[in-house]
């Protein structure tokens, strides 16, 4: 019915979106206010954004995955105590204090979500993509994960068991994807380059 929808102008993504303009104004007002009041150091604000954009992100998670692919002992540790294994690589901090890594196998495919909010393992995956935080993914992936994964281009056979992990407490989940075939000759760094964000969310395979 969208062609009859006079509220459509209010959805996001248009060049001059009144909702988004309102949001930008609201944020600017808060920023100017709290800086004027001395409650925020502008350099701190810049630093924290830079930290998440430069020092976190899926490359961290990819290096964890690649290490698990080449080092069976590390993999066993990662699956048994994800927190300790990941922290040992230096990827720790807010939204990564408690980690559980779940392994995709020939029979099991895992996918993570936070239906109530948008909890996500920041130290290993960075900040989540917008779709992870939106109502379509959050509402549907617990009820019809296979239909959602198919939209991502991942069609699973009925023989593959799907496990959905809803991040309802303080533990954050990360998927350990299956190592692609014919990658025996690759280095750990080359393997890490193959690992994608969606592979570690579970909306893709590697």
């Amino acid at each position: 019915m969208s062609d009859h929808n006079h509220h459509k102008d209010h959805t996001h993504g248009h060049t001059h979106d009144p909702v988004e303009d309102g949001a930008a104004l609201r944020v600017r007002a808060l920023e100017e206010l709290v800086i004027a009041k001395g409650l925020v150091d502008p350099a701190a604000l810049d630093s924290v954004v830079e930290y998440y954009e430069r020092e976190t992100g899926p490359r961290n998670g990819a290096s964890v995955v690649a290490k698990a692919w080449v080092d069976p002992e590390f993999k066993a540790w990662l699956l048994k105590d994800g927190t300790a294994a990941i922290h040992s690589m230096g990827f720790k901090g807010y939204q990564g204090e408690h980690m559980r890594v779940v392994e995709n196998t020939a029979d099991v495919h895992n996918v993570i979500v936070c239906t109530l909010c948008s909890c996500y393992p920041w130290p290993v995956l960075g900040l989540p993509p917008a779709w992870y935080k939106g109502p379509a993914y959050r509402s549907r992936v617990v009820r019809e994960p296979r239909a959602v994964l198919a939209e991502f281009g991942l069609t699973l056979s009925q023989d593959m068991k799907v496990q959905v992990w809803d991040s309802t407490a303080e533990i954050r989940f990360m998927v350990l994807p299956r190592r692609p075939e014919n990658t025996e000759g690759l280095s750990e760094a080359e393997l890490a380059d193959m690992v994608t964000r969606d592979g570690m969310i579970g909306t893709a395979v590697v």
Binding site: T11, H12, V19, E20, G22, A23, A24, R26, V27, L30, E31, L33, V34, A36, K37, G38, L39, V40, D41, A43, A44, L45, D46, S47, V48, Y51, E53, G93, Y94, H98, T115, L116, C117, S118, P123, L127, P129, A130, W131, G134, P135, A136, S139, V142, R143, E144, P145, R146, A147, E151, Q158, K161, V162, Q163, V164, D166, T168, A169, E170, I171
Partner: protein
């Protein structure tokens, strides 16, 4: 509370906007909004559970229409107002009208803020401080009630039966923390639900499962 934020299992939100919403930040103001909340969380008295609860209290229309980072900003603004550090007029105009005691709320320094992010929060208590009410392989039922405040039980598992798969650590209890009532530490359990128990014949495959971490207070022996 069973507000619109509890989206799991609802219909009607269409396909996942994979291509158009693959971004983390699309606009500079989103970066600023993220940084503002992190900067203010360090020197004003709020925590993540309180912040979430403010977002949960948005009207359903606002919750669904506002950008994610705008919701963060609204929640942060409300918490700052509750703490008496800003007022509604200041928030509307962006212009300071009264001073706050910066000895009590010093601006966090860049290095300290980034270090705080790198350290993270501490949500656990010694495992031996509580006796776990449930053990692995116990069958549990999620309680049917739903508190009017912040809670971590999605509606789609309420009243449902699952199996304990792991006894997690002793964690603070989000329902209590969000109300400012302290940590109310208790065990958390990894609980497995069969898709067929949650969705009946809508389940896409008979062996599919859903895992949730649930606090002890949410569960009873089934």
């Amino acid at each position: 509370m069973d507000n619109i934020h509890d989206l799991g299992g609802m219909h009607g939100f269409g396909p996942v906007p994979i291509e158009s919403e693959g971004y983390t930040f699309k606009h500079e103001w989103q970066r600023r909004a993220f940084g503002l909340t992190q900067s203010l969380a360090g020197n004003t008295p709020f925590c993540a559970d309180m912040h979430r609860h403010k977002i949960e209290q948005l009207s359903a229309v606002d919750y669904l229409q506002m950008d994610y980072f705008e919701k963060w900003t609204v929640a942060t603004s409300e918490l700052m107002k509750d703490a008496g550090l800003v007022d509604a007029n200041e928030l509307a105009t962006g212009v300071k009208s009264f001073a706050v005691d910066l000895t009590k709320h010093p601006a966090v320094r860049p290095d300290d803020l980034v270090n705080a992010m790198k350290v993270g929060g501490d949500y656990t208590f010694p495992a031996e401080s509580r006796v776990a009410a449930f053990q692995v392989n116990d069958t549990v039922r999620v309680l049917s009630n739903c508190p009017s405040g912040h809670t971590r039980v999605p509606r789609y598992v309420r009243g449902k039966i699952g199996t304990v798969c792991n006894v997690e650590d002793v964690f603070q209890f989000a329902d209590a923390v969000a109300k400012g009532e302290g940590p109310a530490p208790q065990h958390c359990y990894l609980v497995l639900f069969k898709a067929t128990d949650l969705w009946g014949e809508d389940a896409e495959a008979p062996d599919d499962v859903i895992y949730l971490d649930l606090a002890e207070a949410y569960l009873e022996r089934a």
